[in-house]
Symmetry: C2
Subunit: 278 residues, 2 copies
């Protein structure tokens, strides 16, 4: 089997790389890109075979930019995974915890370790563009008084030492990632018992329109696991709805629900059917 090139946003060692490993195994080759949009463009241009993209975090919420990209790039969801986010304090080898004064990381990561900073008041926080990138920088500078907050994979890749493990405030901190392919290159699905389907639709701007849309699922006992709204450009105060539900696109019950939804929706696109993540 040919090794797939999988695009992620962020430096090597980003949480997205752990998600790639959960989804595709240790041998998957990872191609890092500076922005989410660059990953989607590379997928469209065929420079990468697949992309692994964070969609939502149980504390911070949805990554809305990526919901917009799902609509604007012609992609399909092939799988999802939930990654527990463990933050570690990482420094150059030889640096002791008592030496640390400055801590660098992505602002979201810094904000998820507030109890740690409340306990160690000598530590000053510095926002950085990326969690793994902050480890890379601290290692390159061999900073004697600085540390970074990132994954254990980032520590391993850049040769950093973990000074404190699992310093995040809340252990119920998970990020959900999608494995995406270009629509034309979607591989055949693996056999599975349980399925989840994601789609996006707009309603006509009439009273009860969303309720009638959701009826398509409720009347067939299809369980919604998520609904997300995003603004519809060019139509102020109208919205796109992204819905996930348990079921597979080709099941008769789901086919009926989709036909029903299409009756009441102005626009409807299926984003993919895939086994639910653990």
């Amino acid at each position: 089997m040919k090794r797939q090139r999988t695009g992620i946003q962020g430096e090597l060692g980003a949480f997205s790389q752990e998600a790639v490993r959960q989804l595709l195994g240790d041998r998957a080759q990872v191609a890092p890109y500076p922005t989410f949009e660059a990953v989607f463009r590379a997928l469209r241009a065929g420079k990468i075979d697949a992309a692994v993209i964070p969609m939502e975090n149980t504390l911070a919420g949805s990554v809305h930019e990526n919901y917009d990209h799902l609509l604007h790039f012609d992609v399909r969801i092939a799988a999802e995974t939930n990654l527990r986010i463990v933050h570690n304090l990482i420094a150059a080898p030889g640096v002791r915890f008592t030496d640390i004064r400055k801590v660098y990381s992505h602002p979201v990561a810094l904000n998820q370790c507030l109890k740690f900073f409340a306990k160690y008041r000598k530590l000053e926080r510095f926002p950085f563009y990326d969690t793994a990138g902050s480890v890379k920088m601290v290692m390159e500078q061999r900073a004697p008084d600085a540390a970074a907050i990132a994954s254990s994979v980032a520590a391993a890749i850049y040769g950093g030492t973990i000074l404190k493990r699992s310093i995040e405030d809340d252990r119920r901190n998970f990020t959900r990632f999608f494995l995406l392919y270009s629509s034309k290159k979607l591989p055949a699905p693996r056999p599975g018992k349980e399925w989840k389907t994601s789609l996006v639709f707009t309603t006509r701007n009439t009273p009860g329109a969303l309720f009638r849309g959701l009826a398509a699922f409720a009347l067939r006992d299809l369980n919604l696991t998520k609904i997300e709204s995003r603004p519809l450009h060019g139509k102020p105060w109208e919205y796109l709805f992204y819905v996930d539900f348990l079921g597979r696109e080709n099941e008769p019950r789901v086919q009926n629900a989709l036909r029903h939804l299409a009756e009441v929706a102005d626009f409807l696109r299926i984003l993919g059917s895939y086994p639910p993540g653990r």
Copy 2:
């Protein structure tokens, strides 16, 4: 009538200050704070009488942080307004457009003027923490080759010259603001014919729960104007739903809908009834 002190996020001249003027008139006294959380804290501490806070933009979507603050601080919505966002290129007096090489503004504002930057390729973009703050900085430095993108109010406050007006890509660019009071200090509502009500609820985690919640409105012909989901902390993959609908809390039909919703919701809080913004 005593002059109210109204808190906003950002420097004087921010779009929030225009929203204060739309909501409370020219005489309202504005108190700027560096973060949204600082505004909510000041309101709770009684340092300000009211707050004017952006909730959503028709291009960028909801300001999710502020939806979280609505829940965590004990506030009520007294009014809303929709402000058209007009971006202007502003420089120090005497600086000509042909001199400009650098343009500073908030990243969201820079991203909403992409056609302008595509037309004038000599202009380099520099992200800044705040639109009005970028005008203040350009004026303080008397930069001969720099300009800022911000509101006409910011140009007036800091004495800048508007070199190009309305450079935003899309004129259907509106931001919706709430006027908030501490729950205990909510003033008596003005008389009005039309009303909108905002609330937040969680459903039991059972199939069709959201559908049953929305039925409370649909069965009474109450028109939903917005639904927004946010993650429920401590319960991964469960959500809070923020709903706006047309109707007033004390109407019998709305009272019935709220009682019905309370039957199927685990948690329900009314955030306020107010006249719909134009």
